[in-house]
């Protein structure tokens, strides 16, 4: 029994250790960014892309801006919202970060929102794409995209291009429901018909049973939204079930044709038409440089998540430049509002009213160039705002 008594004392000692490590120094000449990303678990690819992009940007532009040293503290929340909340709180209270950033999934961005408001710390959302996120706190700014931006446009495009019957397959969580809602609205308003509506669980990437139902419904095309990282698996099962040969085209927001996975999808992906905010094939000087640098550094093609991270860190740099190094929440948010710049994805800006991103949406088709698959852009919709807010 006394061994156990000793173990109690051991536990006490261990607890004292963890508490002791909590206190860290804080320098006034440093701007600290708490980067909270899913680095493990199902959404890990999102986290890795953003982390890579942020590191790349800081390598290219140095770690000093307006006389302040920028320090990024990376934390892994494994896409579990209560982790996100705890990490955000500890970063704000203990590490005294000036900005929190990242947020791989919508619930994670939600969980941190009250903290951003209470602590007046800007929350830069680099990935999560549900429309309502930026309304959860006046300190939230987004540099990724919203599902509404791409889904409305692909809905209109489908109507105009003779697609009459569509079956939908979307992940059953807030962004997926956003995508479905906006697509359906625009597609049915134009006279299209939804013949089958399937929602797949987010955490269960086995699409086979759902794909069979799609096939039986015999639509002209299927509208697909799965989050970044699941597209490869989806297209594999799409080909295995022979849907590529049955003439059912894939359309949707571009998440399913994520650039970092596209090349491994095989020829089944050829001809898929998606609307999205970034293609690695985007023809501009900025993108060529970004693509080359990213591929060189990480031996992998960047996807839209990487661009979200790259633009996110750029926004922070640019805001610091504008405030002359003043890093309190209100100054930074004020500086970020209305910010405009040329990103690898094209021209983008931050809407001063909604703090959400305004950007071009491109319609792209998967084609083969030099033996590789690319999303080739063929139509551009300029300066698209989030339709979730413009409606109000």
């Amino acid at each position: 029994m006394s061994i156990r008594a000793n173990m109690l004392l051991g536990a006490v000692a261990a607890a004292a250790l963890v508490g002791g490590s909590a206190f860290s120094a804080h320098a006034a000449d440093t701007v600290k960014i708490g980067l909270i990303l899913p680095m493990t678990g199902g959404q890990a690819s999102t986290g890795k892309q953003i982390d890579n992009a942020v590191k790349l940007y800081m390598k290219q532009h140095g770690d000093t801006v307006a006389g302040k040293k920028v320090e990024v503290i990376l934390k892994d929340d494994a896409a579990v919202p209560d982790n996100t909340k705890r990490l955000a709180q500890e970063l704000i209270v203990n590490d005294k970060v000036n900005i929190i950033a990242g947020f791989g999934i919508t619930p994670a961005a939600f969980a941190a929102a009250p903290l951003a408001t209470q602590a007046k710390v800007p929350e830069v959302v680099m990935a999560a794409g549900t429309s309502i996120i930026t309304e959860k706190s006046p300190y939230i700014v987004r540099t990724s995209f919203t599902l509404g931006q791409s889904s409305t446009i692909i809905g209109d495009w489908a109507v105009k291009n003779g697609i009459k019957k569509v079956a939908t397959l979307t992940s059953d969580y807030a962004p997926g429901n956003d995508a479905l809602k906006f697509f359906k609205e625009h597609f049915t308003k134009g006279g299209g018909q939804i013949v089958e509506e399937v929602k797949v669980p987010l955490a269960n990437p086995d699409f086979a049973p759902f794909l069979q139902r799609m096939k039986d419904a015999k639509p002209d095309a299927m509208f697909v939204f799965v989050p970044a990282g699941q597209g490869g698996n989806f297209m594999k099962q799409y080909a295995e079930r022979g849907l590529d040969k049955s003439g059912i085209k894939v359309i949707g927001p571009g998440d399913v044709m994520d650039d970092d996975l596209l090349n491994n999808m095989g020829d089944a992906a050829l001809g898929a038409v998606t609307a999205h905010i970034y293609s690695a094939d985007h023809q501009s000087k900025e993108n060529k440089e970004f693509l080359a640098a990213y591929e060189k550094a990480y031996n992998q093609r960047p996807g839209f998540m990487a661009v979200g991270g790259y633009d996110g860190i750029h926004l922070i740099y640019a805001a610091l430049q504008k405030t002359g190094g003043k890093a309190d929440g209100d100054s930074l948010i004020a500086a970020m509002k209305g910010m405009k710049w040329e990103s690898p994805r094209g021209p983008i800006s931050i809407d001063p009213e909604t703090r959400d991103i305004v950007q071009n949406v491109y319609i792209r088709k998967v084609e083969k160039k030099n033996g590789q698959l690319w999303n080739v852009e063929f139509e551009t919709f300029k300066d698209v705002k989030d339709p979730g807010k413009t409606k109000k």
């Binding site: 006394s2 061994i3 000793n6 963890v18 909590a22 493990t40 209560d82 500890e90 992940s171 955490a203």
Partner: protein, 342 residues
């Protein structure tokens, strides 16, 4: 019991409070004042400790293995979330008890499935129940919020006096109080004749029934009680974080719980608490050093702990304190080295 004086004397002695236990609880309380910047992680540790205590009740005392204990945690979490969201019971402590009772009802009904099998079937059944509930929570997304979780939970102040703050101070002390009360209850129960009969069942169910212990009834009772504990742990989770999402049912949660208990040891109530401290501290340290690969290191540590053996590892850690105690060389040292030899 009168016919077995040895046994009853042994039981009374085991039930007596030892100084180390008092130090342990005082230290927990002290943590609340010493590390005001670490409330959230400490709250997480307490919550995991409470959850592990629940598993220890069935695993350590009744020998029921479970890989699906998150089922009750999840039911407690969602119950507390829904109760708060729809304002059924605004007072958190009452809501906590209600959520625990809902989990206990589920525990009662599923216990009939669990007592039927032996270890392997029990693992299957418990795992299955948790997965089933997770799927149900995902399916009925209009009630549970599906993958996005319950949004907009607002927890009212405790007794109308103490509001939950963003630094987690109230949450921590609330959690500590709940843990302490439930721990006292568990301590009474395991040292009662009922608790002793459970241990007899764990050691040999056949013999236990031969001396007149109603094996199944006892197992149902303790399983239901453990479900109550897990439900309360889940409810505390929702109340302190204002979140309830699908991962409350996840397999990882049940598996982590098993790890915690393996780390801390079963069958003496403190195992879960100590395991929770060690587990969370390791996780926190590793994931802040390497956010991407911390799982590798934590896995490595677990393998090493199991290979070396907990008791031996512990002896190494306590070598220095022993020396200190021996310097003072009194009765205390005799007791400690006596423990070492066993």
């Amino acid at each position: 019991m009168a016919s077995m004086p040895d046994m009853s004397e042994h039981a009374t002695r085991a039930a007596r409070w030892r100084p180390a236990e008092i130090v342990f609880w005082l230290a927990l309380l002290a943590c609340g004042f010493l590390f005001p910047s670490r409330y959230l992680i400490m709250t997480e540790i307490l919550r995991l400790g409470l959850f592990a205590l629940s598993l220890d009740l069935i695993l350590g005392y009744a020998g029921i293995v479970s890989l699906g204990h998150a089922a009750f945690f999840g039911v407690g979490a969602y119950s507390a979330g829904l109760i708060a969201l729809h304002g059924f019971i605004p007072e958190p402590v009452l809501a906590l008890i209600a959520a625990g009772l809902i989990a206990a009802v589920l525990g009662f009904f599923t216990s009939f499935l669990v007592i039927r099998g032996v270890d392997l079937t029990r693992l299957m059944v418990t795992l299955g129940i948790a997965l089933l509930l997770e799927a149900l929570a995902e399916k009925f997304s209009d009630i549970t919020g599906g993958t996005d979780g319950l949004q907009g939970i607002v927890i009212q102040p405790i007794f109308g006096l103490f509001a939950f703050d963003i630094f987690g101070k109230v949450g921590f002390f609330y959690n500590l109080a709940v843990l302490f009360v439930l721990f006292l209850l568990a301590r009474c129960i395991v040292h009662s004749p009922f608790g002793l009969s459970l241990r007899a069942i764990r050691n040999n169910p056949l013999r236990a029934s031969a001396i007149g212990i109603p094996v199944n009834r006892r197992l149902i009772a303790i399983y239901t009680l453990a479900a109550f504990y897990a439900g309360v742990a889940g409810a505390v989770f929702t109340q302190t974080t204002a979140l309830a999402s699908l991962d409350v049912f996840s397999f990882e949660r049940s598996a982590d719980l098993m790890l915690v208990l393996v780390l801390g040891g079963t069958g003496y109530l403190y195992g879960g608490l100590i395991g929770a401290v060690v587990f969370k501290v390791l996780q926190d340290v590793f994931s802040s050093i390497t956010p991407q690969y911390w799982m590798f290191w934590i896995g490595l540590v677990f393998v090493v702990v199991v290979m070396i053996g907990r008791e031996r590892l512990h002896r190494w850690v306590m070598w220095l304190p022993h020396r200190v105690v021996q310097q003072f060389g009194r009765k205390a040292s005799a007791a400690v080295s006596g423990g070492d030899a066993s």
